[in-house]
Assembly symmetry: C2
Homo-oligomer: 414 residues x 2
């Protein structure tokens, strides 16, 4: 169905999408994605990235040649190393991290639990975890559970969701009793981009460790985990890393912590010698000790294609496109949606903004439902947020324009 503006659309003096697409050095990547030839507008690549066309073929080849052909031998030949290999691919392309500090597996929630337990174990005798009410629910729920198990207190950074987490707000909660600072690098609702380097430094100043949730920044915002001195980080791979629905997460731990890194889900695959099958668990050297069960090989395949695409063009180019897309979406929101009473709820300073834009209006729940009926697919986030996620590799400026005009049409008729 058409997503072109109808006769009721506001007349915007917005920039020309065609000119922006023509000047986009990453425009050629879009055609590599399944469905990019259709008129569907996809504003949810920050929640579930589109698949690359090569991914279907990769999975078929895997089933027939690797799983079906190599069978159990595949473990010795490559799969045992795959979580570390793919971890290093993510680290090199997206994290600003040297090899040997990142591994893939579990869900983000499970890795967050393991990483937070490991982070708390790095600071025995301290009793507080600092986090933010604006963070993604899983982070808060897992932190509450860990705090209950370990007898810790949660200290909440109070933020105005639109203003985001400032380093000063975090610093105000820090003390000599802070064990861990657990924060989202990019806020899932507002797209506020925290100053990870400054906050990490502030945490270290009081002797605490940091655990960053990179789910909404990895593959969209350049990261420099080693340079920033980050202790631990986890992230999701089905958003900007294109791993497919429910693909496994990743965890980073700085090498300086490896020798004492202690997490409670002590399975055979994190053992120093898994096939000795001995009486007691002994942690593998390095990041492998964060692994618990058998690595999710099938689930890890798709994300490699997206990570390779990011590596091909580099995160600097990805970020530049991302900033252009979100800036354009904000211009269109100001031109088309603001006159209807909507308000941009994401930072206007691109240096403090991740890869999505949220536009608030009390009617947005209903607007999003009606947009879906028109094959315009944004997300909705309470309260009243139209969330426009703009995956840089697969989204065109024409798509942004079509989607924002459709949103304006629907809002105007609400």
């Amino acid at each position: 169905m058409s997503t072109q503006p109808g006769p009721t659309a506001p007349d915007a003096a917005a920039p020309d999408a065609a000119a922006l697409d023509a000047a986009d050095p990453l425009a050629h990547l879009r055609e590599r994605y399944v469905g990019s030839e259709t008129p569907l507008v996809y504003f949810d690549g920050n929640s579930l990235g589109r698949p690359l066309r090569v991914t279907a073929e990769r999975l078929t080849t895997f089933v027939e040649a690797e799983w079906g052909g190599r069978l159990i031998r595949g473990w010795d030949e490559s799969w045992m190393e795959l979580p570390l290999v793919v971890g290093d691919e993510i680290a090199a392309a997206c994290l600003g991290a040297a090899p040997g500090q990142t591994t893939v597996g579990d869900s983000t929630t499970v890795l967050l639990y393991k990483a937070l337990r490991a982070a708390c174990a790095l600071r025995p005798g301290r009793h507080e975890v600092v986090l933010c009410r604006d963070d993604f629910p899983t982070d808060r729920y897992v932190a509450a559970s860990v705090a209950r198990e370990l007898g810790l207190t949660l200290r909440w950074v109070e933020v105005d969701p639109a203003a985001g987490v400032s380093t000063e707000d975090v610093a105000a909660q820090l003390s000599g009793d802070t064990a861990v600072v657990l924060l989202s690098h990019v806020a899932y609702r507002s797209a506020w981009l925290a100053d990870a380097e400054a906050i990490t430094r502030a945490a270290h100043d009081v002797g605490a460790v940091v655990l960053w949730d990179l789910s909404h920044s990895v593959g969209s915002v350049p990261l420099a985990l080693d340079e920033w001195g980050v202790d631990l980080a986890v992230g999701c791979t089905y958003k900007y890393l294109g791993g497919g629905p429910g693909s496994p997460a990743f965890v980073y731990a700085a090498q300086r912590h490896h020798h004492v890194l202690d997490q409670p889900v002590t399975g055979w695959m994190g053992h120093a010698d898994p096939f000795a099958m001995g009486p007691d668990w002994a942690p593998a050297p390095g990041i492998r000790r964060m692994i618990s069960g058998t690595p999710p090989v099938v689930g890890m395949l798709a994300l490699r294609d997206t990570v390779a695409t990011i590596a091909e063009v580099g995160m600097t180019a990805v970020r530049a496109k991302s900033v252009s897309l979100t800036s354009y979406a904000i211009e269109l929101a100001d031109a088309l949606l603001a006159p209807l009473g909507a308000r941009v709820a994401s930072p206007r300073d691109p240096a403090r903004r991740g890869g999505h834009v949220t536009v608030d209006h009390p009617a947005m729940r209903e607007v999003v439902a009606r947009l879906w009926e028109r094959d315009v697919i944004p997300d909705y986030r309470d309260p009243g947020g139209l969330r426009v996620g703009l995956a840089p590799l697969s989204t065109s400026f024409a798509e942004v324009e079509a989607g924002m005009r459709a949103a304006a049409e629907v809002l105007a008729s609400s």
Copy 2:
């Protein structure tokens, strides 16, 4: 390369494989599997099942039509329910469990951790977990970790690995302080099949709960979890359930426990209302509270094909074929390997034996390595165990004969 017996092969008076295959009511299933047309002998379907040919097509269709076509809408349309839908499919085909008590996700190790924590929480004030030194390493390592966190004592059932876990051996460790009995239904090395019903009853007699690890029985040995009164169970899906390398695990919890079931990895997907994104975690009703993160949709696809195949023929037929295969393997081991000093280390009573057969000889590590070079693929398990895993849906009697004759040839020349 050939796996036919060479001139040095012992001359066995074993039953005729061709006649056994001709009489096998499940023989027609073998051709549905990738690679079944090759001369390769696969004795590791109990560790990584072969893929069905339909699985490659299912994955391609999924990427192009569902993930690529439905995008984020797939969550509302079907994926949110998929862990419970696939859980119920496994329950109906394999577990003897009514719907609503089984869900899929995480690795076996992670689910074991969550299930053991939940099991311990069902019996507060009790301080002992009963388990077995012969069980799979992950089970022992996770139990040790949970015991350390909760201040519990592990009580070990001492067994002769060849004789297996008797109900009396378990009962000897039980007391009014037993919180949980954690045991493998089929032992990973010997294939000893525990009497799950009697052991569950003995545990209940002292007020304890049971947590069964079904990894080596599900899809091979019929289960009746509801009838036996089992409290909790976990299992692996990449063995007899054909889910592919590292496919997600499943957990069963009896409905009577759901209202108080409490596990520590409290993620958004186990929340009563995930998209409310409220301040506090509140458990979903039913088995969903065992879910932590976003369900591994891509990883769950392949196993559905095998579970559907099992449902098509029924576990009674699967078990009959499994018993025939293992009995035939033991006959061949007695005829061909015993004269060379090897010894069957699995139970000879089929009623006490799972779906694989282990044959011990000090030279087996080297024998297995040499068999792999001949495209005969068993597994090796310390100390000195040639493990012959016989997936009932994909293994022919001719394959058993060819593999056991090859093993005899190699052992004879060691």
